[in-house]
């Protein structure tokens, strides 16, 4: 069991790093609002697949990385990601037997919750972002979920 989790940490860290790079990859301004939260999806994936390997710790650390990279108040993404990863871990047994459509809908709910926490912290710390653009990310993230989960499971179950 111990060895099992240790093996799994490498793909976990690698996928998180790649997702982090995707989060800052420069895109044309027009496409920028359509960028899905790759790192969040990756964290959800690992919380669902192997929560024992430290899904919550990964969530917290990834959140901090997002805070630093986006230059927002420290702890904002960490809070949102921890809460939602906790929820995803709680739902994981059900999620594994869900059909793809139900999975996507659940992921959509989780991503919306994530955005909501961000929105709330933004407002509480005095720089609200009120554009509707930010609610687009959950939709795109949910649509992307089958692709991402498929790729990740193929990569790490080899």
């Amino acid at each position: 069991m111990m060895r099992d989790t240790r093996i799994r940490r490498l793909p976990m860290a690698l996928s998180a790093l790649v997702a982090l790079a995707l989060a800052v990859l420069p895109l044309p301004v027009a496409l920028d609002a359509f960028r899905p939260d790759f790192l969040v999806l990756v964290v959800f994936y690992w919380s669902i697949v192997s929560p024992r390997a430290g899904g919550l710790t990964l969530a917290f650390v990834s959140g901090l990385a997002l805070d630093v990279i986006h230059g927002v108040v420290l702890g904002q993404h960490a809070l949102a990601l921890t809460l939602m990863a906790g929820w995803a871990t709680h739902l994981r047994l059900r999620l594994r037997v869900f059909s793809m459509l139900s999975q996507c809908l659940t992921i959509f709910a989780l991503l919306t919750g994530y955005q909501f926490v961000l929105f709330w912290v933004d407002g509480a710390t005095g720089n609200p972002v009120t554009t509707f653009g930010r609610w687009l990310a959950p939709v795109i993230g949910a649509l992307l979920w089958p692709l991402l989960a498929g790729t990740l499971s193929r990569l790490h179950e080899r």
């Binding site: 390997a53 969530a59 108040v73 990863a85 594994r96 059909s99 005095g126 720089n127 972002v129 554009t131």
Partner: protein, 356 residues
């Protein structure tokens, strides 16, 4: 469909709730400490060094491509570039001819009023890194940081005019908030008549607005806006933008004025970080006389313009003062610009006259 393999034999994670609550509390504590106490600057600086490799890794392919394109440019293209640059240089030199004389004259006139508000001292040039920050905030990452002496609240210019100011400083990089960010405001002056107001970002890169001008204000499309130097955050006299459109609705008390920024906010690659000459202790009193000329040229409007922001400004003005300058010692100096005190303008010269 994706079949998840059940990797946990037990299927239970012990203390999930506990750990979730613990981490959330930690994150909340971080948010509060970061927001309230400004003690996390050093931690953030260290973390930004950790983030640096990722940013470099992301930016390097684009830089590599630029380098590749540059190295395979044809001779003809280079010659064309050279001709163009020479023409530009000639024009710039022509414009510069009178600059020295004008600068000396300005310094002398300012010296008469013992005001050194907003005189630039020195600058360094930084490159914008090819990294996207937040999609909904207009910020860029620049490859100059605390080790180059960059500080929070520092004015940043590009070839065309004012670009923005430093919002956050890391050890090796810094974040610059653009003029057009929805939470940014900058004290400006109309070059033609000296009318002072505040230009506020819209969140749209090609547009600023002047929300605090009354419908009767003397502003027309094509007017050049320059920094007024009030508040001490920006050097005075640098172009901010040109008025693109003025909409006057007789039913409204305030005009809608759109401004096109002078800096190439979406195209610039190189930015200048500006240091200003240390200001005299009498800055606070010498700022008021700077504010008088507009009142002389356009008394009713200027008076109105100065007093209008007070009721309407707070949401934006507060941001302008809080966001970029909160950590700097300039916070106090910025306050007058954001929550306009120029109303005092008429009284200050009188006091000076008495003193003499």
């Amino acid at each position: 469909m994706v079949a998840f393999r059940n990797t946990d034999a037990s299927g239970r994670t012990t203390g999930l709730l506990l750990r979730c609550v613990l981490y959330s509390l930690l994150a909340l504590a971080l948010i509060i400490v970061d927001k309230r106490y400004d003690q996390l600057g050093r931690i953030r600086r260290v973390l930004s060094i950790v983030a640096y490799p990722v940013q470099i890794a992301v930016a390097s392919p684009f830089e590599g491509w630029d380098w590749f394109r540059e190295s395979v440019t044809t001779r003809d293209a280079l010659r064309a570039d050279k001709t163009k640059l020479e023409a530009e240089l000639r024009l710039a030199q022509f414009r510069l001819q009178r600059y020295e004389a004008l600068e000396a004259e300005t310094a002398r006139l300012r010296g008469l009023r013992d005001s050194t508000v907003g005189v630039t001292d020195r600058f360094i040039i930084g490159d914008i890194m090819d990294v996207d920050l937040d999609a909904f905030r207009e910020r860029v990452l620049v490859d100059k940081g605390a080790q180059d002496g960059v500080f929070v609240g520092q004015a940043v210019l590009d070839g065309g005019g004012v670009f923005g100011q430093v919002a956050r400083v890391g050890q090796l990089t810094s974040e610059v908030i653009l003029l057009s960010d929805a939470t940014h405001a900058i004290p400006v002056q109309i070059n033609r008549n000296g009318l002072r107001t505040i230009a506020v970002g819209t969140g749209d890169m090609g547009r600023l607005k002047l929300p605090y001008l009354p419908t009767s204000a003397d502003v027309v499309a094509g007017d050049l806006l320059v920094t007024s130097g009030l508040g001490g955050g920006f050097p005075a006299g640098y172009p901010v933008g040109t008025v693109a459109e003025v909409k006057r609705d007789p039913a409204q008390s305030l005009a809608e004025v759109d401004v096109k920024p002078a800096a190439a906010l979406d195209r610039s690659r190189e930015l200048m970080f500006v240091w200003m000459k240390p200001q005299a202790a009498s800055t606070a009193s010498s700022m008021a006389p700077t504010a008088t000329p507009p009142a002389a040229t356009a008394p009713p409007h200027a008076e109105h313009a100065a007093s209008t922001p007070a009721p309407t400004a707070p949401p934006h003005a507060e941001h302008a003062a809080l966001t970029p300058a909160s950590a700097s010692t300039k916070a106090a100096a910025r306050a007058p610009a954001a929550a306009p005190k120029p109303v005092k303008a008429p009284t200050a010269p009188a006091a000076r006259a008495n003193a003499q």
